[in-house]
Structure formats: C-alpha cells, structure tokens
C-alpha cells in the first residue's frame, strides 16, 4: 500500500490523469471533486500529499489551501498546486487575503501550471514525498 495522495479537482479529465499517474507510480490516490469534499477527506484520511486545483466550485482551491495550511493537524501535509492559473496570480491572491487580515500562509511545496507532462508530475511528487 503506497503513500496516500489526495487529488482535489472538479475537472474529471484532470482527476483521471492525476489518478492514473499516481497509480502508475505506486501511490494510493484519494479523489475529491470540490473544495468542501477535499477538506473533509483531508481531515479523515490524513493524506501524505495533496494535489490541488485553484478554481473549483463549492469552495475554491485558494480557500482550501489556506484552511489546510492553517489547520495545526494538517499544515504539515505538502501541497502541489496544479492549475491553469499562473503561479504569480495564485501567490498574489494569497497575499491579498493576508493583507485583509487572514493569517499569512507559506508558499506551496510545488506549483505546476497546466499543461503538465505525466513525467513532470510524477517527478515532482517523488521529490516531495519519495
């Protein structure tokens, strides 16, 4: 049984792709289709890694990211952001939220902009959790 990786994405194509890459590389995938579901699964399953999209219905990746990174039980879980949104836009949105009074959060362990090659994704995961 490999390490558990939680995939949170509303796009079925991305989910299938991520899940396949994970399985092919010996990890155990967990799947959530929106932020709300993702948060619950993260609490329940305590995954070793989260792969997270930015724009999703029912709680966006921006919010979920903050919640994971500020929860004392979950903040140690590394996160790979995988998104069509440019990294700097994501970081800016987090900075803006911090300026409006939210707790500042660290940058994600990795940020991948779509499109991503399977090899690149696999290498990034391996680098972070082995």
């Amino acid at each position: 049984m490999g390490k558990k990786v939680l995939v949170v994405d509303d796009d079925p194509d991305v989910r299938l792709f991520n899940v396949t890459v994970l399985e092919e590389n010996g990890y155990t995938p967990l799947v959530a289709t929106n932020g709300e579901e993702g948060k619950n699964l993260a609490k329940q399953e305590k995954p070793d890694l989260v792969i997270l999209d930015v724009l999703m219905p029912r709680e966006s990746g921006i919010r979920l990211y903050r919640e994971l990174k500020t929860d004392k039980n979950l903040k140690h879980i590394p996160i790979i952001m995988l998104s069509g949104i440019a990294e700097k836009s994501f970081l800016r949105s987090q900075k803006v939220l911090a300026e409006f009074g939210d707790t500042p959060v660290p940058e994600p362990e990795a940020y991948l902009e779509k499109p991503v090659e399977a090899e690149e994704l696999a290498a990034t995961i391996k680098k972070i959790i082995g």
């Binding site: 509303d10 796009d11 194509d13 991305v14 299938l16 792709f17 396949t20 890459v21 092919e24 709300e36 999209d53 930015v54 724009l55 999703m56 219905p57 029912r58 709680e59 919010r63 069509g84 902009e113 779509k114 499109p115 991503v116 090659e117 399977a118």
Partner: protein, 516 residues
C-alpha cells in the same frame, strides 16, 4: 442767498436801503453807477442785484444785460420810477426778476426779496435734480453698456457656436465659435445670410417653422446632427435651439452648436485602443483556454500510451474519451470565437419562444440535477407564435441557464436550496422579455463590470470567457439588449429584451427593426 449788490446813483437811497437790508441780515455791497457795479459783480458774483433803472452813464438795463451775460442765474430786481413802463418791459425781456417802484417801501422790497429768494432756491433745486438725474442716467447707461458688453463677451467667448436670427430669419449674431464650426467669416454671415443659407435643410426647417408658424416647435432639445461647412465638410455637431419671444411676440431664434469632431476623433481612438487591448486579451485568454485543453489532451494521450503499453483496453478507452472530450471543447471554443468574430444577420422565422425556453430547460435538466439545482419555468401563456431568430433565443438562453447553474455550483453557502428560474413575458406588442434568475453565488461589482469582456471567466476549466460575450453580440444583432442584476451571495438575474415581428410576415433583418 445773502449777498446783494445795490446800485443807485442817488447816495441817500443807497444808504437807506443798505441799512435796511443789512438789518435784515444781508451782506450788502453798493455802487453808485453801472461801471462800478459791474466791476464789483465780476469780482464777487452776488446772487442778487438791485439796480436803479435811470442812472447817468451805464443805465440799469445795461447793468441787467451784462449781469445776465456774466451769470444768467443771478436774480436782478429793477427799481423803477413813474413813467418807466417802456424800460420796465425791456427789462423783463432781458430777464429781470422783479420791479419795485420808487419810492422804495420796505414791505414792497421784502416781498420782492422773498420772491427772488424763492426763485433762486427753486433754481438751485432744479440744478441739483438735473445733476443727480444726469448722474443716474450716466450710471444706468454705464451699467447697460457693461451688461451688454458682458453678454457680448459671453457670446463671443463661448466655445459653442451661437447663431441668432431676427424675426425675418436674418442672422444677427454669429460668434467666433460658430465661425470655427461653419467656416464662413463673420462679416459674410451677419446681416447677409438667412438661416437657409447657413443651416442644413433639416435644421433650417425647424427654425423656419418655429418662427413662422404658430404650431411649430419652440424648443429643440440637444440632438446629434451634422452641418455643412463653407468648404463642404460634413461636420458632426450637437445642436439645440429655441424660438425667442418678447411679450408674446416671436422675435427671432437662437441656435447652439457643439463641435463633435474632436470628441468623435477621441471616440475613434478609444475604440482603436480598446480593439488593440481586446486583441491582447484575446491572445491571453485564448492561451489560457488552450492550456486547459492541452492538459486534457496530454492526459488523454498519456492514458492511451499506457493502455497500448499494458494492453489495457480500459485505460485505452478512457484516454481516448479524454482526447475526444477535449477535441469537443476545442471545437466549442472555436465555434464561439467564430460566432463572436463574424457579423451575422438574424434569420427571422415563425417560432414559439416559450417552446424554445422549455427546450433549453429540458436540455439542461440533467446537468442541473447533478449539481443539486432545481429548474423552474414561468412562461407567459399570452406569447403567441412570432417571427424571430429561434437560434439566437436558443443559444442565448442555453448560455444564460448554463451560467445560472454554474453560479449555484460555485456557491459556498451549501445550506441553500438552489433554483434557476427561466421566465418569459410579453412586454409590449413588439418585445418579448426573457429572465434567467438564480439564487447562487452572485457577483461583485468588479465581476459585473467585466462580464461581457472577452475571456473573462470565474469558472475555471468550465469557462472559456466567451459565453456572455457571444450572447450579448447575438442579442444586439437581433436588435435587443441584455441587462444584469446581481448581489453577492443572493443570486443573479439576466434579462434579455428581444423585438419580434408578427408571425407569417416576410423574412426581414434586424436592420429594419433597429430603424423602427
């Protein structure tokens, strides 16, 4: 009056009268003859002269004439003896104020003096009145001139062209602003041209009718039109004017012109800049959309590769599905782009708008159910069969209802019972109104402002940022308009007003509708 010059050749009379007058409080100078009297008069100009008429040398008449010559205001009382009637008449002609007969009695003298005093007083008052009146007239004249100058300056310095005519339609005011617009120099217009010579027939007609006919319009609100300048240029202007009245009589017309050339030029430049910005946005947006699709295609081909390598039909199949889905997304995006970039005339045909709305609701029922959103229809049964472009209604409603469902899907308030309502209303005898409302996430003002711009999307992989842009374009091509009302957390309503024609009429185009 208290200075008196007393002239008589008889020393006794001078002495007695002098004493009497001094006792009454007058300053009295005396002379025993005409020459001496005039010398004193020239030096001291007393207000009153009392002179004997018969004197050796210069007589009283001559003294009177000289005194009146020097100062016409001086009152002169003549002392006459018996038989001096002729001289007295002559003295009257030269302006003597009064006569007293010899021998001079105190009472008679007192009356003559009082009369003289009154005369002097009245004259003085008259002089004061006159002076004050003259001053007032001068001040009023200055004020009138100042105001008229001020108004003249106002008219001259106005940036707007101002042209006024008299009641005969002859141009009497033509300011530099008008000169700049029309091009004709001032001297060739004022008192030389009639309105018909300067204005386009359209404007001239308004003015001529207004001035000459009781039923003509008297006020012309601002409107955009154009004028023909001296060198034949058509110049876009804003025009307003009115017929001038005075005491119920028409007295002419005034018209104001604003030069729109600079504004139009700026508008064109802005449009150009916007177009360039739109091109930039289009490229960026297109790249973003393509990135998502590429990701799907890469994912798909990865699965297909795996499937082949491992002889795994299931992976092969799901990879191939992923590729097909993303080919589908590519073609949707390309079609939207084409729809947006191509001018298209609506094709009117007989249809039932309610049926189209119901069809769209049915088409999206499955998607709505998956997203836990209810779809409700509220269709106006009085909408008859009409002539419209059914494809436009279909595409527009499909886009709006899809958006409405997504707005619920993106709503983080999971306690809500989400609902999308599609409503139709017969607004008047040539417009149908379509409302698509949801109680989903709503929009901030920032989002609302950017709604109809290209590639603006808040929907992640679901949105290309083209739907609303395409919808608005189609609605406008159909001669209609689209509005939006939204409040964050409460929901959004999109409203489309589309004009229609009666069913069975010949096919027509939107152009015709717009003109109506």
């Amino acid at each position: 009056m208290n200075r008196i010059l007393l002239v008589d050749d008889e020393p006794d009379i001078v002495r007695v009268l002098g004493i009497s007058l001094r006792a009454d409080g007058y300053q009295v100078r005396t002379a025993s003859g005409g020459e001496e009297a005039l010398a004193i008069f020239a030096r001291e100009t007393p207000e009153l002269v009392i002179t004997d008429i018969k004197m050796p040398g210069m007589n009283g008449i001559e003294v009177l004439r000289e005194v009146k010559n020097i100062n016409a205001e001086t009152e002169v009382i003549i002392i006459t003896g018996h038989g001096d009637i002729d001289s007295a008449i002559e003295a009257l002609q030269y302006g003597a104020s009064d006569f007293i007969n010899k021998p001079v009695r105190d009472k008679q003298l007192a009356i003559a003096l009082q009369r003289a005093q009154e005369k002097i007083h009245i004259k003085q008052q008259l002089r004061e009145y006159t002076t004050s009146l003259e001053q007032k007239v001068a001040a009023a004249t200055r004020e009138i001139r100042r105001r008229s100058n001020f108004q003249g300056k106002l008219i001259r310095s106005s940036n707007d062209g101002i042209v006024a005519t008299d009641e005969d339609l002859k141009i009497v005011i033509y300011n530099p602003g008008a000169e700049r617009i029309f091009g004709y120099p001032h001297h060739s217009v004022v008192h030389r041209m009639q309105v018909q010579d300067l204005y386009t027939p359209q404007i001239a007609d308004l003015i001529v009718t207004g001035v000459t006919q009781a039923s003509g319009l008297q006020e012309f609100p601002w409107q955009e039109t154009s004028i023909l300048s001296e060198n034949g240029d058509i110049i876009p202007v804003r025009f307003s004017g009115s017929i001038l009245h005075e005491k119920g009589q028409k007295m002419g017309s005034v018209a104001f012109f604003q030069d729109l050339r600079e504004i139009k030029r700026l508008e064109r430049e802005l449009l150009k800049a916007e177009r360039l910005a739109a091109v930039g946005q289009t490229v960026a947006g297109l790249a973003h959309g393509l990135k998502n699709i590429l990701h799907g295609l890469k994912g798909g081909s990865y699965l297909v590769d795996l499937g082949i390598k491992k002889d795994d039909t299931e992976k092969l199949k799901s990879g191939w599905d992923m590729i097909k889905r993303n080919i589908g997304r590519t073609s949707e995006m390309v079609m939207d782009l084409l729809t947006y970039s191509k001018e298209r005339e609506p094709e009117f045909e007989d249809c039932f708008p309610n049926e189209i709305a119901a069809e769209v609701a049915a088409l999206l029922a499955e998607k709505a159910r998956e997203s836990r959103v209810g779809i409700k229809k509220s269709l106006d049964p009085s909408i008859p069969q009409v002539s419209m472009d059914p494809r436009i209604i279909h595409t527009a409603l499909l886009n709006l209802v899809t958006n409405a469902i997504d707005a619920c899907l993106f709503d983080e308030d999971t306690g809500k019972e989400w609902q999308v309502v599609v409503a139709t209303t017969l607004e008047d005898d040539n417009t149908i109104r379509f409302d698509v409302s949801d109680n989903g996430v709503g929009m901030s003002k920032n989002v609302r402002d950017r709604l109809f711009t290209s590639f603006f999307s808040t929907k992640g992989h679901r949105g290309t940022g083209l739907g609303l842009m395409v919808t608005r374009k189609l609605v406008e091509e159909h001669g209609g308009r689209i509005d939006v009302a939204s409040s964050p957390g409460k929901g959004t309503t999109f409203t489309i007003h589309l004009p229609f024609e009666a069913a069975g009429e010949k096919k027509t185009t939107s152009r015709k509708i717009k003109k109506r």
